[in-house]
Symmetry: C2
Subunit: 147 residues, 2 copies
């Protein structure tokens, strides 16, 4: 039941609880109760809006793989990357590289500046960038009851 509520809200977080309740067969108050509990449990992290990156000038996307050296500074790499507004996602990954970062900038030239900034972080050995030509889709709402 919670899964169906998340799906209903995921597609449009503004949909009223009455409408959602109608869809899943619960009263307004019951939906409210469940949403409140999911917020408490951390299932719902926050309500948000989906902004079109192009519209705000952030039309350039790249994935940057980052390799650490073996030094003592490795623990500090992630916090430093978190401070950079261009870094929208950061994953610790298995394989040849240690991190995979999703970067969004205004244009290609700005990526160069971001890469210099990343390379200047103590502990970073090298980076490899994959430039996005076109984002087919993203923002796909999480479907809890995946097939």
């Amino acid at each position: 039941m919670d899964g169906r509520i998340l799906t209903a809200l995921g597609n449009d977080g503004r949909r009223s609880y009455a409408e959602v309740g109608n869809e899943v067969g619960l009263s307004t108050a019951a939906v409210h109760e469940r949403v409140k509990k999911m917020l408490e449990r951390g299932v719902i992290r926050r309500f948000s809006i989906s902004v079109d990156p192009d519209s705000v000038g952030l039309g350039f996307t790249a994935f940057v793989a980052i390799r650490n050296d073996g030094g003592a500074h490795c623990r500090e790499v992630a916090p430093r990357l978190r401070e950079m507004t261009a870094v929208q996602e950061l994953h610790s990954v298995a394989g040849e590289y240690d991190f995979l970062a999703k970067i969004r900038t205004h244009h290609a030239r700005e990526l160069e500046a971001v890469l210099y900034q990343i390379k200047s972080i103590p502990g970073v050995a090298r980076t490899t960038s994959t430039v996005v030509l076109n984002t087919e889709f993203e923002d796909q709402p999480l479907r809890p009851i995946a097939a």
Copy 2:
């Protein structure tokens, strides 16, 4: 001004227009007007909720690079990937591979099934997977006025 409204709403899409207006120095009605226009222009794509993937059992993430063969089926690859619920993002990229997909499944074993599905799409030549060990952060709200 719109940028500040997006930032205020991006951190919590449920924040009231009165509160947002207070923050940016506008009346409730003015914020409402601007949000309406941003919805019309497509700057705001939709209101949504941020769901914690682990909480709904989708605790396994991987990035899969996909290489097309040169055949006639290449145009059909993206639409087919869009239909797969496990594929949360799909980017057309420059370099050795043609697509980069963000995949979310319940566990590693399920990724295997997803990979078989992807490899069975006509036009797909080969894939390379990068397994996520830990997501440091994602869901970073878009900061329109990036430094």
